[in-house]
Amino acid sequence: MDYSKVFTDPKSAVADIKSNSTLMSGGFGLCGIPENCIDALSEMEITNLTVISNNIGNSGRGLVKLLISKKIKKAICTYVGGNPDLEKQILSNEIEVELIPQGTFSERIRAAGLGIRGFYTPTGFGTSVADGKEIKIFDKACLLELPLGADFAIIKAEKGDSYGNLWFKETARAFSPLMAMAAKITIVEVEELVEVGEIKPEDVHLPGIFVQRIFLGKNYKNDIEFLKIEE
């Protein structure tokens, strides 16, 4: 009996994501986002998702597709600037937004993936982020932060093999490997589906043990948010 994680298309890979699920989505801004998975999800009849992602898309793109089709009940993120669709839903109370400092966000996701039940960080002490959190004094006053996991993660990588070993290009890595560790089911789309063994074992950025499904993505837009060129 052969065991394979490879799916043929995004639709079948995300088919069992249901209403009320908690969903992590990789990428930073529009960089390294799982475009195919987001498109497939936006055509499904699901609602009340809790979405964990650094940004909830931007200027009509990325996760904004799920926002516009009213699939998101709650967004857990670090930065939501430049997103008029989100602003509208916040003002009309259609969506709840929880903001977390980005370092704490990353480390909480890692903690969920790697079995750390809680950790102390000085980030946020003395700010509204500390509200309701246990405080303990080390060299500095620190907040107790808890793991942040999810039912599903959708992420994108540059290269991946059938076992799920992944390699990310440039700054497209960000939260994606951490989310893969933290979700019960991790669905990966790749620009290039390579032979097992093609990624050098030392240079695997995420071991396949953290991946449950993988498919070859198509028609990537790879939008640039702010093009800056040397003058």
Binding site: L99, A174, E230
Partner: protein, 210 residues
Amino acid sequence: MSTQNYWSKNKMIEKVISFFYSGASVNLGIGIPTLVAELLPKELNIFIQSENGVLGVAGRPKKGEESPTLINAGKETISIRKGASFFDSALSFGMIRGGHIDFCVLGGMEVDTNGNLSNWMVPGEKITGMGGAMDLVNGAKCVIVVMTHFTKKGSPKLVKKCSLPLTGVGVVNIVVTDLGIFKPENGKFVIVELASGVSVNELSIPSELI
């Protein structure tokens, strides 16, 4: 009050850069601070970190060399220097939280005499989120705030006590404004330097705070 003596943006960034030393690592916030990457003298051999997961930012890419996967935390296309490296967000913020970043340069809305900083939220206005700012101010060895001295309404941003939601408590080491350089210390702002021709009166800081 004439603004002709005020430092330009580029001059403010030059002043920021004057604190750096050879081999230092620097994180740059969104907005004015990103100018540092463009104005940095090469001989300083600075490594610029961007918290989305890169160490060794060089500036802007040449036309045609931009990559959608090569951006800074402001989501702007960048180029990298030799010796650059990429990593995930947990390591990136670990680098910050662990005290391995020598300087963090970021914008501010208010800085007070206790080194408190507000720069992420104005109640009642648009919500943007704190991004990595709270981690940066608590982690970097030296936090430099660069901002205009006055709000658009004309009130000074150097205050006795921040009125806006805080980003961090007792975290600011140096403030560079278009009027001068200041250090919050023991409940006062120590004047390190004033733009030439600018008087202490023009700062609009109550005299008991200086």
